[in-house]
Symmetry: C2
Subunit: 180 residues, 2 copies
DNA sequence: GACAACTATATCAGAGTGATATATTATATG
DNA sequence: CATATAATATATCACTCTGATATAGTTGTC
């Protein structure tokens, strides 16, 4: 298959919920997908153009006198999204700069490494708090999201929470090990 | 700072252990860094050329009649590596295609989603086994690696193991939730 | 009405990925 | 001993993805 633009699927997924502009897509990514999916304007806009050319999406409205262009998903787009959902997901390569740094830090002063780990821990704690907050919000009001979708979002949040807790535990364990 | 080539640091780190060719660097990445760091030939070779031009590395030997070019780290390279180790690590953007797919799978048949999760679980189980195997190997023989370095490698492996176990637990929990 | 904050699109250089091409050197197998 | 095949080694390409920057209209507020 060779190198596939994955933003297409994120965009199709978002448009399948409701027609959106490039800016809306970015906002949704930052708000809802944040933590497990990243999108840039520099990729969204060219991808939208390409998808429009390929008939995966269509222009729904060019609102009044505004610059805003709203895109909607087409039938072909829905088929593409559905096909992707059925595909097996191949794991993507990882790049953790933190772990790379840690690996090459064995000659650094212990205090320095412990500090690194404490900062890393703090970061994950902050993330964890964010996820717990999002979980609370999700349980309160189910205004626009369907019960089904809310259940899936909760599962994904749980994933973030469980992983976050594991990383924090590892930090504590490793700091303790270094202090001995 | 704007967009920084991070492969430089991986390469400097590897060369700080022993002079290597591009091919050696790739092998080391696949064997030792695998699981938290990815490198490609398509990035290693141009980066090596750039680093040579910048004086971060030097050609140590062009072995006999072979094609192999061995690079070593220079004093300037060591300084660059050291400076990076002292820098704060900014978290890098994530892209989990699996979680993206899961989020948009709420209208898929339950059986289908459970299958997705089972495959994902299997993948992480395999990874976990690999880490446990690596941990065993690390405890047995400490031939070339220093005691200090071995300790850091163990910590990184522990990280992979703890995270892997957490993901597997999440899979089980989520599958159970879906079956209810 | 000035100033900040937000909405909106576009473009660019450079980082990173995976595929492919090419050639040499070990190693095995019949 | 020939020859297949696996491993070693470098190079290049198209494409994806990132983060920065440019530009301009709209909304809010003090």
């Amino acid at each position: 298959m060779a190198l596939k633009n994955k933003s297409i699927y994120a965009i199709l997924g978002i448009l399948s919920l409701s027609p959106s502009s490039g800016y809306d897509i970015k906002k949704y990514s930052d708000k809802v997908l944040s933590g497990f999916w990243n999108e840039n304007f520099g990729h969204i806009y060219p991808t939208l153009k390409m998808m429009l050319k390929d008939g995966l999406i269509e222009i729904v409205s060019t609102e009044k006198n505004q610059k805003k262009i709203k895109y909607g998903i087409t039938e072909k787009g829905r088929q593409e999204l559905e096909a992707w959902l059925l595909e097996e997901t191949i794991p993507q390569p990882m790049r953790s700069e933190f772990l790379l740094k840690l690996l090459f830090s064995s000659s650094q002063p212990k205090e320095r490494v412990i500090n690194m780990l404490k900062n890393y821990r703090k970061l994950h704690e902050k993330n964890l708090d964010k996820y717990l907050e999002m979980q609370k919000n999700l349980e309160q009001d189910n205004q626009d999201i369907s019960k089904e979708r809310a259940c899936f979002m909760k599962a994904i949040l749980r994933r973030g929470i469980i992983s976050g807790e594991a990383v924090i535990r590892w930090c504590d364990e490793t700091i303790e090990e270094l202090q001995r």
